[in-house]
């Protein structure tokens, strides 16, 4: 039996750390230029659009064999006119320090830093069947009122849950899935059996003596 891998990529705390540092710098620079939203949107296009569609570009960004000047030329030619100068400069800084391969990590970190600054929370919601609009609205409003923050939902479908939903905010999981409840019930029943068996055994042994 093979289980579906639940996380999208191999977690690399080192890359994450690098991403966080660069993302903090990028957001800082973009904020002082007053273009944080634009830069973030363009960073998303870069990662989801260009890098995702072109393996060669990704490889070129990550490769240490392509020197800095070459990378700078590529950045200028491809993105010079499209992206905001702050982002272009940022990419060049990354190229200078041989960190262009971590653009993906920077994007992930930048999005979460931005969310945090805007007072937004990301909640991952797993459900057995796709949610309808009413449920979605109810979940969002309930989460926003308890967390006192704006909530952005990331939805996934997982038929193994049977029913109910699992909401994950940060490292905390709120689990109301049917699968989990059945699991808990079976555990308690098992404990109950052994307790009951022992009770029977003791009364049996006691009646003998």
């Amino acid at each position: 039996m093979t289980e579906a891998i639940k996380h999208d990529t191999v977690l690399d705390p080192g890359a994450e750390q690098v991403g966080k540092t660069y993302a903090r710098a990028l957001i800082g620079a973009a904020l002082s230029a007053g273009v944080a939203d634009d830069v973030l949107r363009q960073l998303n296009t870069l990662v989801d659009g260009y890098l995702a569609s072109s393996e060669k570009l990704t490889a070129a960004f990550a490769s240490p064999r392509i020197d800095q000047n070459e990378k700078n030329r590529v950045i200028d030619r491809l993105f010079g006119s499209e992206f905001h100068p702050v982002l272009v400069k940022f990419l060049k800084v990354m190229a200078k320090r041989d960190r262009l391969g971590f653009v993906g990590a920077v994007r992930t970190a930048a999005v979460s830093i931005n969310d945090e600054m805007q007072g937004r929370l990301v909640a991952e919601v797993r459900t057995a069947v796709p949610m309808d609009e009413a449920t979605r609205a109810a979940v969002v409003s309930r989460l926003s009122s308890t967390m006192n923050k704006q909530v952005r939902l990331v939805e996934t479908i997982d038929p193994d849950l049977i029913g109910g939903m699992v909401v994950r905010v940060g490292d905390t999981v709120f689990d109301s899935s049917v699968a989990n409840q059945i699991d808990k019930m079976s555990r308690r029943a098992r404990d109950g059996f052994s307790r009951e068996l022992l009770k029977r055994f003791e009364s049996f042994a006691g009646s003998n003596s």
Binding site: I5, K6, H7, V10, L11, P13, E16, Q17, R168, G170, D171, T172, V173, F174, D175, S176, N180, Q181, K184, M185, R188, A189, G192, F193, S194, E196, L197, L198, R200, F201, F204
Partner: protein, 505 residues
Amino acid sequence: MKFSSDEIASVLQAEIEQFDSKIDVREVGTVLEVGDGIARVYGLSGVMAGEMVEFPNGAIGLAFNLEENSVGVIILGNFLTIKEGDEVKALGTLLSVPAGDAVIGRVLDPLGNPLDGKGPVQTSTTRPVEIIATGVSERKPVSEPMQTGIKAIDAMTPIGRGQRELIIGDRKTGKTSIAIDAIINQKGTGVKCFYIAIGQKDSAVAAVVDVLERNGAMEFTTVIAAGASAPAPLQYIAPYAGTAMAEHFMFNGGHCLVVYDDLSKQAVAYRQMSLLMRRPPGREAYPGDVFYCHSRLLERSAKLSDALGGGSITSLPIIETLEGEVSAYIPTNVISITDGQIYLQPDLFFAGIRPAMNAGISVSRVGGAAQTKAMKKVAGGLRLDLAAFRALEAFAQLGTDLDAATQSQLDRGYRMVELLKQPQYQPMTVTDQVLSLFAGTRGYLDDVPIKAVQKWEKDFRQWIHDKHPTLISEMNDKRELTDDITKRIIEAIKEFKASYKPVVS
């Protein structure tokens, strides 16, 4: 016994009726890497040091290292079926083990799971594995003796209830035997015993359990085994788990004897974990807090004040040295923590002096406070006399002519060494020990040939039990050598010697 199906169904129904579908809130993380009994976990951002976590295969872990990006977890169980990406759940509690009368007579692993095939430990009493030891005001000085039943130890390095006495020596010098004898000697005293085997061959543990069973000692003993095949985290927590089980009795006014066999293996397991966790190595590659690892364990052995019930935990930690090297890191650490040590030497062992205790460097810092008055009277100065004899013996080997006084001192020494020999698994009562030592130290053995001393002692004990039962019972009651008792012992010895002819084989 048969169970009808509706009985089982009724249990299930009760569970279903009681079940309320609350939302399950838990803190989770993801396994980054796993191996060698440890896992690195991403997430678990609110986990605290020492908190329990649960893996999907049911294995329990402890948060050991809290780092910026990840949590280092030691896995107390099967780590072979844990995979990268598995969800780890924080349980929000500290590790605890079953305690109480249900654990007595059992062979358990450090988590309290049975290893003896006698079914699960059925108790609702549990105790946390790691607690802070009792403070100064909750203790009182060690005053009652904890008889090991071994003449050499009870006479020269007496152990009191609440004391920590280290047994140290090379491999195969009889360290475990002393501990086993001490356990066997607790029969009938109400002292609960805990034998904690760390990093030993499972066959050796099975042999110990067998000896304890054959001598009727398993009835009051718990064996906690983390064998050589157990993962390092289990070996590491085994002594804490055993102490937690003992503490249940101590805090209820009972007395316990805990044997840690051996702490050098535990230090090695701790070193392995620490190095895998990338903690910086220090001397002999042990981590910086290996001293704390042992001191916080042994500090939990205590004699409680009367207000707390006066219970006690006596511990006999065992340390194995390499080539008699007591100045290695772990031996010096544990020597400095304990209240004395019994040093066993291979050359004495092979010369037939068993227990192979070196009287010169074995000490008990609690000393006479833990001896009965009778024993204090016969054994006072014995240790120093024996140490002086050893020095004299070395000198006498130079072949010089000796004056009569020196020669008689030597003769007395040879006979005392002979008298202090004692076979394995035959602990003696205090009265018997006092009688034997009385005969030796007062010079009544000086005319018995050296080779016949052991036989003489054995026959004398047998004879006096048969002929003078009132004297024995009186000594048992009084535990003191009054003038009257002394006179009667001397008379008895003279009477015995008149009718006994030592046989030299």
